[in-house]
């Protein structure tokens, strides 16, 4: 019966309860949607990075990682690639020749990473080919074709068919240069990537730096069917190539070790969003306390009667606690439902932020955000609502328990 009274008490003052329930649900909607939005942004940043270039896993010669010198290549890489391709989780594997270089036009120059790729193979690993905004992804009859980012093209003041000179160190340590014609200009959601990465055919770069491109490669990029398979495949690869790892021939790294800042940003975003949700819940708890205090003060005579007829303090405390939980959980459930609805809809349609695309792209974020949140978060936040309600009920309940029944029953409303 106490549960029944507590529930009926919630609706004793309908408008007041509805205002609190509305505040809780809108507060939660704001908090959870913000969490999903930032998570969607962070996830998109990771996806952009994985699919535009870094892939899920990369293999290098460990010495290459020290100074990025191309002479430290992976020998006999074909056998390694073939073994990796045998794994069912693997979608595609690309072998690249990579070198630090200087790209110069008639106007200016810029430090870049020059990526020598097997064009058809690279199409399977990265989606740069789908980001072409001018020209094409190689495929012209020009010799020494290059595909560069829009930001770099603007910086170098070059267009399609313009010539750029790539200055690079050969494997023997000499400085050499080669002229390349711009075949295509790409634009990803990460302008920092666009300004610093030039793509050329692997053979062209290998010829320039003196690499045996048939047998050697600087980098092997492994794209998986799903990002969440990364850990599992990493473990398998480390087992398969245990001997080579032990001998210092290769090192295998997942995306979050290649670009740790991505994971750090993702984690930080989630933590910050949680902090934001906690602030909202704390603010809501004051509203709940205030409402419950008002409800209790209005019912002084009734509470006095309950104590007088022999309702124990424990039961009275429990009744107020349950009433607070009912009020909060009703608002919480409405908030969770609204959040789920908003996230489900916008998760499919996306939120267009193209008005501020330039700023977002400079930070590596896409201009279309798809909010997302794991189902566990709903349960976690639901739990937090209950904890908030329990904590918020303590003060009003204690105030009720401090009443003197003899005085309370004669209290003038």
């Amino acid at each position: 019966m106490i549960l029944s009274i507590a529930w009926k008490n919630v609706w004793r003052n309908k408008w007041r309860s509805l205002i609190v329930i509305g505040a809780i649900s809108l507060g939660l909607l704001g908090g959870i949607f913000y969490l999903a939005f930032t998570k969607g942004m962070a996830q998109q940043q990771i996806n952009t990075a994985i699919h535009s270039y870094i892939a899920n896993i990369q293999l290098h010669n460990p010495k290459y990682l020290i100074n990025g010198e191309s002479k430290y290549a992976i020998p006999s890489y074909r056998k390694i690639v073939d073994k990796i391709k045998e794994l069912p989780e693997v979608q595609a594997v690309g072998a690249r020749a990579v070198s630090q270089a200087m790209a110069s036009s008639a106007v200016t120059g810029a430090g870049v990473m020059i990526n020598g790729v097997d064009v058809e193979e690279e199409k399977e690993v990265s989606n740069i080919y789908s980001k072409i905004v001018d020209g094409g992804y190689f495929g012209t009859k020009m010799k020494n074709q290059a595909v560069i980012g829009k930001k770099l093209a603007d910086k170098l003041n070059v267009r399609i068919h313009s010539k750029i000179v790539i200055t690079v160190q050969t494997l023997s340590g000499d400085i050499t240069y080669g002229a390349f014609r711009i075949a295509g200009i790409y634009k990803t959601d990460n302008s920092a990537f666009d300004v610093s990465n030039v793509f050329v055919e692997k053979k062209a770069l290998a010829d320039l730096i003196g690499m045996d491109y048939q047998n050697e490669t600087t980098e092997i990029a492994v794209l998986l069917k799903h990002n969440n398979m990364t850990g599992e495949v990493l473990k398998k690869l480390k087992n398969i190539f245990a001997e080579k790892i032990k001998n210092g021939e290769i090192v295998i790294r997942p995306w979050n070790k290649i670009q740790p800042v991505l994971e750090m940003l993702n984690n930080m975003t989630i933590q910050f969003s949680f902090f934001f949700v906690m602030i909202i819940l704390t603010a809501l708890s004051f509203g709940i306390i205030n409402t419950m205090l008002m409800a209790i003060m209005e019912r002084t005579r009734e509470i006095g009667m309950l104590m007088a007829i022999g309702m124990s303090r424990m039961r009275l405390f429990f009744m107020i606690l349950i009433e607070t939980v009912f009020l909060s959980v009703t608002g919480g459930a409405a908030g969770l439902f609204l959040s789920w609805l908003a996230i489900t809809i916008t998760g499919k349609t996306g939120i267009d932020l193209s008005a501020v695309a330039e700023g977002l792209n400079s930070l590596g974020y896409g201009s279309f955000v798809y909010p997302e949140i794991e189902p566990e978060f709903y349960f976690m936040i639901g739990g937090l609502v209950i904890v908030t309600a329990l904590l918020a009920s303590v003060y009003p309940a204690r105030r009720a328990l401090k009443m003197n029944p003899a005085e309370a029953v004669r209290h003038e409303a």
Binding site: M1, R12, E302, A308, I309, G310, S312, R313, A406, V409
Partner: protein, 227 residues
């Protein structure tokens, strides 16, 4: 048979600048089946005495002995439990729970006592019949008149099967017809069920029907007479 006895009972309110002795050395006893009114002018200590007998307030000194046991020798939690099992209360402002129906209001106290559902239903029906409101059992207090609400409050007080009922100004908010009706019901319960009623009142209509009148003034008993 004596069921309640107060021995040199005193209650002083020391919070104000001048301490007020609301109950001043009262020794009085009540037998089972009494229909007694504690009367006197406002501020004479009627309600305070009733509260002390009902275990709602702590005396400054003295004892309240119920069935041979000193009520205030119990711990607060035990006093609450004692009230639940032994004392029925009727208040001036009815103090029903507005979100519950008449039936649920009467049933509530038995629920606290842990009485089984079947027994509760039977007893609620009987009590509501006794107070003449069986046909109103599903109505909420807001849908009933003042007199009807007070009759529900009497049924609630009796639902606990108490040793005695303490009624503090039960007719103060009622018109004459409702007062007479309520008093007739309580008298009938007193006669047929031997229920002990102790009133604190300054209502002459209650005084007329009471069999014993204890008159207070300045916290002291100045008269104790049988009607």
């Amino acid at each position: 048979m004596e069921i309640i006895k107060t021995v040199n009972l005193q209650k002083t309110y020391a919070e104000s600048a001048v301490p007020v002795r609301a109950v001043n050395d009262i020794s009085v006893s009540f037998d089972a089946g009494e229909f007694t009114a504690i009367v006197g002018p406002s501020g004479c200590g009627k309600t305070t005495l009733l509260n002390l007998i009902g275990g709602l307030d702590n005396p400054t000194s003295g004892e309240v002995i119920i069935d041979g046991m000193n009520l205030y020798s119990l711990k607060p939690k035990e006093i609450t439990d004692f009230r639940l099992k032994n004392i029925g209360f009727v208040f001036q402002a009815y103090n029903l729970i507005p979100v519950l129906s008449a039936k649920e209001n009467v049933e509530f106290i038995m629920n606290l006592q842990g009485v089984p559902k079947k027994e509760r239903d039977e007893r609620v029906e009987k009590l509501l019949e006794q107070v003449g409101l069986k046909d109103q059992m599903n109505r909420r207090p807001g849908e009933l008149s003042g007199g009807q609400q007070q009759r529900i409050a009497v049924a609630r007080a009796l639902a606990a099967n108490p040793k005695f009922v303490l009624a503090d100004e039960p007719t103060a908010n009622l018109d004459s017809a409702s007062t007479n009706n309520l008093l007739d019901i309580m008298l009938k319960l007193n006669e047929t069920e031997n229920t002990t009623f102790i009133f604190a009142t300054h209502d002459s209509r209650v005084m007329k029907k009471a069999r014993r009148l204890i008159e207070l003034d300045d916290g002291k008993v100045i008269a104790d007479k049988t009607n």
